[in-house]
Amino acid sequence: MVKDNKLFSYRINNDALEIKMVGEIDHHSAVSVRADIDAMIFEQRPKRLILDLSEISFMDSSGLGLIMGRYSLVRELGGTLLLRSPTAAVTKILSLAGMERIIKIEKAFEEDDANEEN
């Protein structure tokens, strides 16, 4: 089993592999995190990969590449990808790239509640 990387923690929930990313995703961190995530994907062969982005304070286009790369990989292995609770800054770059048209994004609960009041 792969050890927890300091950039993320994970848990396995039935057929889902949930990875909670922490801190900043740039080219520097993406390179080191990618190999560990892929090792877990190959080991678990999850039906669903969930990337929890609620603790990501910064992400640039290297993060888009990281997400798209994992999306291609899990799809190749017959699974799906869900992005969970992106912060405001991350949501901005995801929308710029039109990511929501390709990958399912589950917003944070607070945001859902706020929207319902409008």
Partner: protein, 150 residues
Amino acid sequence: MKRTEMCGRVINSIKLTLPSYSVNEGIARGAVSAFCAQLDPTAAELGDIKCALSEAVTNCIVHAYRDTIGDIYISVDLLEGSVVRIKVKDRGCGIEDVKCARMPLYTTDRAGERSGMGFTVMESFTDSMRVSSSKGKGTTVTLYKKIEGR
């Protein structure tokens, strides 16, 4: 952004020269954020600046100095009227066709899992972006952002 706003008097400035190690992406963001804090920017404004800067610096590391380590020259000027001007310069390989490179999704590095969105991010997260490049000599990206503040 008005043209006159882009050539206001320089009120304060910093210069940084960093070797193209990827760990310096975060260090450059930290230094530029600290400089911009004097304008009391909103979290969103600061986030935009950090992201645009990170794109420019990463491009120097992964493209300009692809197979080598070279210096990245960053200068940040605070201009009259709360405008921040950021220049990121390298002496790397240069860009053959800048117009093409600036298009969304264009990348020369598919194997490296690049999305080709760097220039698009820089352009959308700032008020103005200029790119000048010369094949074999290097590239300079200049970004302007007006800070409304809190």
